[in-house]
């Protein structure tokens, strides 16, 4: 019945949506921000801890939202570990493009890890679900307390 939805709800998404690996507040963190989608009520808070070299040592989140937003937050947390803020900003841009168009520039491991979310581009009202955690992450890195999905 929902065969054509398998593009959106790939196994990896259902799995991360159901059992996020990074779905909790970090015990110690140096950056954090909230993201908020007022139209549907999704909300996420992202936590980041950097290592001495300025790379992200660990990321985590608390979310209230759908499978897409939770899975996106979880895959994001997984992917950004070990990267610099600038690398993350660059990756966020490519991710946003992918969520909107289905196409992502590059074939590096990072974007491949996120590719399961590409299917969201066919569901305009769900694109924000996928991008919300990234908005929050960027706000955290920029030292802003809040982001919104607009």
């Amino acid at each position: 019945m929902f065969d054509d939805l398998r593009d959106l709800y790939q196994e990896v998404i259902l799995d991360h949506g159901r059992r996020p690996r990074h779905g909790s507040r970090l015990a110690a963190y140096d950056a954090s921000a909230k993201g908020d989608n007022p139209m549907c009520g999704d909300r996420v808070q992202v936590f980041v801890r950097h290592d001495e070299g300025g790379r992200i040592a660990e990321a985590g989140f608390e979310a209230r939202g759908c499978a897409i937003s939770v899975a996106s937050a979880d895959l994001m947390a997984e992917t950004v570990a070990g990267r610099t803020d600038d690398e993350v900003r660059e990756l966020a841009g490519r991710f946003r493009d992918m969520a909107r168009t289905g196409e992502a520039a590059g074939e590096d491991a990072a974007i491949e890890r996120l590719r399961p979310l590409a299917g969201v581009h066919e569901y305009p009202s769900r694109v924000k679900c996928a991008t919300l955690p990234w908005h929050a992450l960027l706000a955290a890195l920029d030292g802003k307390g809040e982001a919104s999905s607009e």
Binding site: L8, Y9, C40, G41, D42, G65, C66, A67, R126, C129
Partner: protein, 414 residues
């Protein structure tokens, strides 16, 4: 308030024929529109009335001495008569046109709230209000030292009348503003009892009829209401037009809200004087074409009759409650005795948004989210729900389609 005894069976096929949009397919699937509580679809009569106005009888109102303007003014003012009849208002001058329920409530919050209400008084709402009947009162509270009180809602999703009364006893409440039907729980509130209680404690009472008027006959005199608001687009009418009904003497006592053309009596640099009620509350060119559409919508509803509508929707709601409750993992919010055609639910292991997306792929339109009622969501310990809501055109088969599909959604996320 004719008490009719007719069996009230709707000819649904004929009714559906009046709604061109219901023939649409969504990605190859027949549209199953279960989002009428957000906004209802429009019957041919409404579309035709608007087209006719624009094609053969249009001009600005109240200002022209020419034929087109006279006819358009008649049609616009005719809607005021139609609404007055619909609500059983004492006087057509008690009908003020607004954009929607939200603006109507804001009008009261600004005009009544900042003049008749005095700092130190309180406004009493309930825990099941739509944001539109909450945020304007918060803004009033923050700007004018008016206390905001919230009457509790029971676990069954009904208004806690004892709780309401307790909040009235100190006599400081100047206005009780309560929904006549919850857009989340479907609960209808006992408006007559609320009005009696409010009045007994010296408070005025406003009912948010946005949902209620779609499902039942409203008689503002029988309810003994002071203010009643509704919105055209949920009553099968156009967007851009809503109604504030208020007792004439209240409108007389209230200062205008918006200033501009059509609401003045005379204007000098020093001072302006206001037009008679209701015009003093209708600044600028009104939603003329939309008012004409609203007349047609009222005609449509009256031609079917509220008894038939209510009976139809009661059957649909019973059927929906029975079918949904039978699905494992589905939880319906609220179980009020007196309810209209709105059913909110959650599904274990699946977020409401995901549920809505899967249903949508089968052409089934439901709404998911907080339904502009965040505090109520918290009251029931949920972030969001899916909501199916019904109109005159909704069929048993559509509810079956929802239930059948929902069972598959459950498997998908199992």
């Amino acid at each position: 308030m004719n008490v009719t005894t007719r069996p009230a069976l709707l000819d649904i096929a004929a009714i559906r024929d009046e709604f061109p949009i219901l023939r649409q397919t969504i990605r190859g699937k027949q549209l199953v529109y279960l989002d009428s509580a957000a906004s209802a679809q429009k019957p041919r009569a409404v579309i035709a009335a608007m087209v006719q106005a624009m094609e053969s009888q249009y001009a600005n109102v109240h200002r022209g001495l020419h034929w087109m303007s006279e006819r358009t003014t008649d049609a616009y003012e005719g809607t005021r008569d139609a609404v007055a009849r619909l609500l059983n208002a004492r006087d057509r001058r008690e009908i003020v046109f607004t954009r929607n329920s939200t603006e109507a409530i804001n009008l009261v919050a600004h005009s009544f709230g900042r003049s008749v209400l005095r700092p130190g008084q309180a406004v009493l709402i309930s825990a099941m209000e739509h944001h539109s009947n909450l945020v304007p009162w918060q803004m009033l509270r923050d700007a004018h030292d008016i206390e905001l009180r919230v009457a509790p809602v029971t676990g069954a999703g009904e208004l806690d009348m004892a709780g309401l009364e307790t909040l009235l006893t100190d006599g400081r409440v100047g206005l009780v503003a309560i929904t006549h039907m919850s857009n989340v729980l479907g609960t209808c509130t006992p408006a007559e009892r609320i009005a009696a209680l409010a009045h007994a404690h010296g408070a005025r009472v406003l009912f948010d009829g946005s949902q209620a008027i779609v499902h039942r006959r409203i008689d503002v005199q029988a309810l003994d209401a002071d203010f009643y608001v509704f919105t055209g687009h949920k009553l099968y009418g156009p967007t851009g037009i809503g109604v504030l009904w208020a007792r004439h003497e209240l409108l007389e006592a209230m200062p205008p809200f918006l200033g501009g053309g059509d609401m003045i009596s005379s204007v000098t640099w020093e001072r302006s004087t206001w037009a008679e009620v209701p015009h003093k509350f209708e600044a600028g060119t009104p939603a003329i074409i939309e008012a004409i559409g609203l007349s047609a919508a009222i005609g449509f509803v009256e031609s079917i009759g509220y008894d038939a509508i209510a009976a139809h929707e009661a059957r649909l709601t019973d059927h929906a409650l029975a079918r949904l409750s039978a699905i494992e993992g589905v939880h319906v919010l609220g179980r009020a005795q007196d309810r209209g055609g709105v059913v909110s639910f959650t599904l274990d292991r699946a977020h409401a948004h995901d549920v809505a997306t899967l249903l949508d792929r089968q052409g089934i339109a439901v709404r998911a989210g907080h339904h502009c009622a965040e505090p109520l969501m918290r009251r029931f310990g949920v972030d969001s729900t899916a909501r199916a809501s019904f109109g005159v055109y909704t069929t048993h088969e559509e509810i079956d389609a929802l239930a059948d599909t929902l069972a598959r959604v459950r498997e998908f996320f199992a």
